[in-house]
Symmetry: C2
Subunit: 339 residues, 2 copies
DNA sequence: TTGAAAGCGCTAACAC
DNA sequence: GTGTTAGCGCTTTCAA
């Protein structure tokens, strides 16, 4: 019962070429015929077959998204931003997750290419040279959210993690803290790991407060924050403030500290990063650096669609840095005076 | 440039039918020719065009997902479950969000249909009759996650919300509580709203403890929990325990109670629902009903793929109820004896 | 303005 | 076992 363009043509007594023309407004069609065709389309409830159209046009109106983990708000909120923008254009999103596996990421690029997507958004953690080659071989527009040192020649949108970390660290210094620890991400992660750490380090160095043994490392989880804090508190030099590379680690850190009888923020100030929901909801609510996740997504997809539609081969190098914002809440406070 | 099956055929000195055969193993091909074709495929790095194949096969290997909100873990974890299963089969996911808007949900069903998806998974809040009609008109396999009173004739997978709520409520009774409040969802929401409330109500009625004025209502957010608790505490009859329809409301409830000087669980026991990440991480960690989100997704997609591949028209009515689990944590405790 | 026909890249009868 | 051919449903020259 699938009604096709042929069926419409027959019923309206015209050729399918004409039907196609009224469908796409691609060429002038006389008012009368147009009306007739439209009427038939209306009451057969005809919808052109998108697959056939894709084949003919060599354009699928599909956009591929590759993301490390769908269930983590840090990523899924970016997708949400993309989705709510694209919803009104007639593109659809083909979404795949990689579980942070580079091989899988590369494989997905190929799969999505074969599926004929018109463009790609990569929400990235980090890549390698093989990954980079896969991107180049993709042959159609790509935009990255978050960027990657391997791929700085690909258009991207992200925040300035370095600067944000400087500000967060400086904020702790301004509160009078001197022993300021960090629970960082892995340095192999260029953005959330390396840049956030370097902002912290450089700021402390400039203030003459940097100490190498006030640093713990983890992979952005609650448990990593928990154990990171455990490690920091085991040092003889007691920290009075901690900067965490993400909110989840901040939560873990606070949890551990609380269990050890330390009051946050009275005995220990803690800053997170990202401003995911939990930062606002936690008790104490957590001071953090707010990332505009949804906006990241929106700008990325906007850029991508533009590249697709205007066929800007080798698009002029787009790099867009969005604004972050330090959100002060209950988990940070002026350092207790010693007595 | 783009290498096609014709190109392969020419280079290998065979017909494209033969190439197609070795590509799909659809018919026997002599070893020698097969080897030759494979070699050409190999060194041209040929990948068959998925769109053309779809058109010919009338099968897109695309599966549509309609979900209320991508950034909410309650939904995105279901997607994650779907995605990690489907990744190994050669289907792809076309995901759209509705922001809980029924019109949009209906519209998405049509769009996805036009895009030629082979099946649909609906992660639903609730629908109406028009929505139900759209599903019937879809004409290809559909599976719902969470089900809906309007659509009980569509295969679904979910937990037994009613039973789970009974257990949670009974647990509070067993702890000695008598004034047990609830912050429920809207009753128009058949699963998380209505069923969870009814489980609570019936269990209390049976125990002779039900009181209508111990109930607040909200839309599953932190703020709703916060205000719900505010409302409950404003009653003269002081509750000693509260069952919340989701974890976020439980967090809001605890936050408000804490701000009023009540200790959780000492002065007030709180139970949530869902077991999202925050329930484990919060201080106090929250007793809750664990939903197997990822498994919900996995079973749903498994069922759907089966329906697609085995072409079970009007599939024998599948309804699958998965197991929930009460997870006891720090937010609940035996009722303080009065003195 | 409109129609006929070729073609997008692939699969699947149908012959040989 | 292999090739020829006719589609799948749509767009787009090219003529008329």
């Amino acid at each position: 019962m699938k009604v096709t363009i042929n069926e419409i043509a027959k019923r309206a007594g015209v050729s399918k070429a004409t039907v196609s023309r009224v469908l796409n407004n691609s060429k002038p069609v006389s008012e009368e015929i147009k009306k007739r065709v439209l009427a038939v389309i209306e009451d057969t409830n005809f919808k052109p077959n998108a697959v056939a159209r894709s084949l003919s046009l060599k354009k699928s109106h599909l956009i591929g998204i590759i993301i490390p983990d769908l269930s983590n708000p840090v990523f899924s909120r970016i997708i949400a931003g993309i989705e709510s923008y694209i919803r009104n254009l007639d593109y659809s999103l083909l979404i795949t997750a990689t579980d942070f596996d580079i091989e899988m990421k590369i494989q997905h690029i190929h799969i999505l290419k074969d599926k004929g997507v018109d463009g790609l958004i990569l929400v990235t953690d980090h890549g390698n040279s093989e990954f980079y080659e896969a991107m180049l071989a993709f042959g159609k527009p790509i935009v990255m959210v978050g960027s990657d040192s391997f791929a700085e020649s690909i258009p991207f949108v992200r925040i300035d993690n370095y600067k944000a970390s400087c500000e967060a660290t400086q904020y702790l210094i301004d509160l009078g803290h001197e022993k300021i620890g960090m629970i960082r991400g892995p340095l192999t992660d260029p953005q959330s790991g390396k840049e956030r750490f370097e902002g912290y380090r450089d700021t402390l160095v400039k203030a003459g407060l940097y100490e190498e043994n006030l640093i713990a490392e983890g992979w952005y989880s609650f448990d990593d924050g928990y154990h990171g804090m455990e490690m920091l508190l085991s040092k003889s030099q007691r920290v009075t403030a901690v900067f965490c590379a993400c909110d989840l680690m901040a939560v873990g850190a606070i949890k551990y500290a609380s269990e050890q009888g330390l009051k946050v923020p009275l005995d220990l100030s803690v800053i997170g990063f990202d401003d995911v929901e939990i930062a606002r909801m936690y008790s104490p609510s957590i001071t953090t650096v707010k990332q505009p996740f949804e906006e990241n997504g929106r700008i990325a997809i906007e850029t991508l669609v533009q590249m697709i539609e205007e066929a800007e081969d080798l698009a002029p190098f787009h790099q867009q840095i969005l604004k972050h914002q330090l959100v002060v809440r209950e988990s940070t406070i002026i350092r207790k005076s010693e007595e």
